[in-house]
């Protein structure tokens, strides 16, 4: 499905840039007045609020350039409007003087919402496993499954007669899980690697193989196979992370967070952090906060869909109080819904990025108390 955004938004940063450009042009008008009378013409190309915001920003920029905004009759009248052209959205400042039409016309930067259709993805969740014990993370194998639970890693094989528990690696005594246990399980070649608070364990994916565990402070990988090798450090004796580190070192100035997701947008890398105050904050690669939402829960992940961009996956609440998973696309300064809501059977307890277009989801059925592992696939919907 392709969603064409009829009245597309102009981002705050774009408005600021347009206001600066326009103020510069107005102040440089030949025979220009040092006072202008700004009015705005609404035509549906942008919202009234955006037009008001532009006028406010432009007034500030003009003042910086010593051009007064006034309603005096002697002031040069400038009518602001946005318009749609084939080439994209235009900001038009009509200058009312003389008989011939005069205008400053600036192309509005073509953000994803300005002229391109917003893509959407479909979400499909497939049940992988259920058990009574908590599931911290899991890895799908070609012929089986690895499940990380508090105190153990289980190897489950898919055989002709059904699913068989083939081996269990005992982690007791190694990890010091908080009351809200967390852990990460990844596959590296023929080995699995379990990331636990202050420890890292690894073993060959083979029944009976030896498990090696050692203290570690390198952090948990955010996305399997991510070239930036972004990692999260779990705070001591806590269920949240206190550091996000890439190959360039830790990102400074970040608040503690429950989960992090990374995606590459048109404007560069964007981090989403589920901070402890209930907000999800968005940061660019320079650790500058570029957006915020309070509509998402504490579980986050991202996925890359081939030929269909990168997506944030977040758990949101429905009106009925149930949890649902939804995909979001980053649109300059805010996330935009990119999928239908995928209702969850229970509450989410873990959400991790997986390879490619998949994420791993763990839910708990509050009636039965059982945990379920789901593999959620994102596919381009157009």
């Amino acid at each position: 499905m392709i969603l064409f955004v009829a009245t597309s938004r102009v981002s705050g940063s774009d408005l600021g840039q347009l206001a600066r450009q326009l103020a510069s042009r107005i102040s440089a008008l030949p025979d220009g007045s040092r006072a202008v009378n700004l009015t705005a013409r609404e035509n549906g190309a942008v919202s009234e609020q955006e037009l008001r915001e532009l006028r406010r920003l432009l007034t500030e920029e003009l003042k910086k350039r010593r051009v007064a905004v006034s309603q005096e009759p002697s002031a040069l009248t400038i009518v602001l409007s946005f318009s749609e052209a084939l080439s994209g959205k235009l900001l038009i400042a009509e200058i009312r003087r003389g008989e011939a039409p005069e205008a400053i016309i600036l192309p509005v930067p073509a953000g994803p919402s300005a002229s391109t259709p917003l893509r959407r993805v479909s979400l499909q969740k497939s049940l992988v496993w259920r058990q009574g014990e908590p599931i911290l993370d899991f890895v799908l194998l070609p012929d089986g499954l690895l499940v990380l639970s508090p105190g153990k890693v289980s190897l489950i094989r898919n055989e002709v007669r059904g699913w068989t528990l083939e081996h269990v690696w005992d982690l007791r005594g190694v990890e010091h899980l908080p009351r809200d246990p967390r852990g990460r399980l990844l596959l590296t070649g023929s080995e699995f690697r379990a990331y636990l608070p202050r420890f890292e364990c690894h073993a060959a994916v083979q029944a009976g193989s030896a498990l090696a565990c050692e203290p570690s402070n390198t952090g948990w990988p955010v996305v399997p196979g991510d070239s930036s090798d972004a990692r999260l450090r779990l705070a001591k004796s806590r269920n949240y992370f206190d550091q996000l580190r890439t190959t360039n070192g830790p990102l400074p100035g970040l608040p503690p967070f429950y989960a992090a997701a990374l995606l590459a947008s048109q404007t560069g890398t964007v981090w989403a952090l589920a901070s402890l105050d209930g907000n999800t904050r968005f940061y660019n690669s320079r650790s500058a906060e570029i957006g915020r939402t309070n509509a998402w829960g504490p579980n986050l992940a991202s996925a890359q869909v081939p030929d269909c961009s990168s997506w944030f996956l977040a758990v949101t609440d429905s009106e009925a109080g149930n949890e649902a998973l939804q995909a979001f696309q980053w649109m300059t300064d805010h996330p935009m819904v990119g999928s239908e809501r995928l209702e969850l059977d229970g509450v989410s307890t873990a959400l991790w990025a997986d390879e490619g277009n998949r994420v791993r989801l763990v839910t708990r059925d509050l009636k039965s108390g059982r945990y379920a592992a789901w593999s959620v696939a994102l596919d381009c919907a157009d």
């Binding site: 499905m1 080439s87 600036l106 049940l127 012929d143 499954l145 898919n158 699913w163 059977d345």
Partner: protein, 511 residues
Amino acid sequence: MRTSGQLTRLEPASSPTTATDFALRLRLLPLVFEGLVKLNEQGRPEPLLAIAWNSSADFRRWNFTVRPGARFHDGSPVTASVLVDCLTTVENPFIVHEYEGKIVFESADPMPDLPAVLAMPDRAISRPTSKGATVGTGPFRIGEWEAGRRAVLVAFEDHWGGRPFVDRIFLEMAQPPKNQWMDLELGRADVIEIPVEEVRNTTQRGYRMLMSRPLELMALFFSSPPSSPHDLDLRRALALAIDRDAILRVLLQRQGEAAGSLLPQWISGYGFLFDVVRDVTRARSLLPAPGQVPEFSVGYRAADRLARSIAERLALDVQAVGIRLHPVPVQDPPLDSVTPAVMLVRVPIAIVDEKQALAGLASHLGLRLPEQTDWSQPESVFKAERELLKDVRLIPLFHLPVCYAVGQRVRYQRPEDIFLTQPLHLESVWVENQVQASIRLDSISGAQFLAMLSFGVRWPCHRTPKKRGTPPTNRRRHEFPHASSSHHRNGGRCCLHGSHLDPTCHYNSCV
């Protein structure tokens, strides 16, 4: 039947002599001849005979990859070398040659808009055969052609986009509008082109409409620049005296837009900056002293009923400010000359691209585009247009859509798939019954030109094959499937999507 305004040739290299011919050619030519690329309704290039292209950073060199498997109507393959030969038969501002199976365009000057240039109808690919015929690669080939009278277009079985749904199109030209309506109502014609003022009437009669975006400029055109400041003031007064809004409401039945600019608002985005409001006081102030009554003769195409009505209304409008206007019917005015001195013209916008559209309009009207125009900057294009209009050789009046009424048997998925900008995509229509159906086309300017197109139908609609224009089969396009209620299988252990773990456990069976 009128003899004027008939399409004598369809080849890309042919030069129509009238605006009517030009407009009809724009609609029909893509049925037979294709270029390397086309522009979609957003003005963005899309593949035709080229499937990919890229340019150097300075836009001086472009590479186009040729569509594999495409064939000319005579069965000969479309290759890069053949296309290069075809492209070099016309005068080019670039060098074109083949390199490693690709078509390479090179120029000393940057060519940032080359795809739009190549999408122009006169850049469509045609080649002569040994028998002296001209063949293209479009979905139809020319079966018969009687210049100015009739033609038969036959479905091209080997078209790269799939065979058209209909077998053939019979085209009859130069039929009066009354006959078209009669034929439509009797089922002898399935689509007729109708004047915009007939749109409401057509809808009320229960016919479906194919209506383009405003694609035609109606304007008053002066044969020469103003001879003096006084003459310039007179023209300005004339422009200010016209009540476009009233004409739009009454004569045009609210179809189209009042225009103060050459390019329509939907293309340029700045059209509203050009004033279209009547200002009688200002008009009077520009006129000479009382007692002198300026007079103009305004020509209009004799067969164009709408033009006549508008010319008469203009005469009334300007009379109110003290100008006398005498409408004069003119038989088939050619594109490149204006007789009398002022002419009510209708010029089609050939292509959905700012520069090419403006260049086309200017070229047809003998106007010269400012040379120092940065076509990538909307403000620069606006200034170029303002410059063109500065001396009031042209008074834009309206941008009008082009409309067709469709008979009951013609089927298509969405009207905008068939006709939104100039090409008329008859390859994507089908007819309900296994009988011949016909389509009649009037000229864009109303009453003079009729083309009658008859379809021989191959597929009834209920078994329309999967081709361009048929519904996509991907259900994800229409809905978002959820696997939200997967349940336990095999004792409640697993159900995976697809065959990742269990080949018997597919998503659909899990739901």
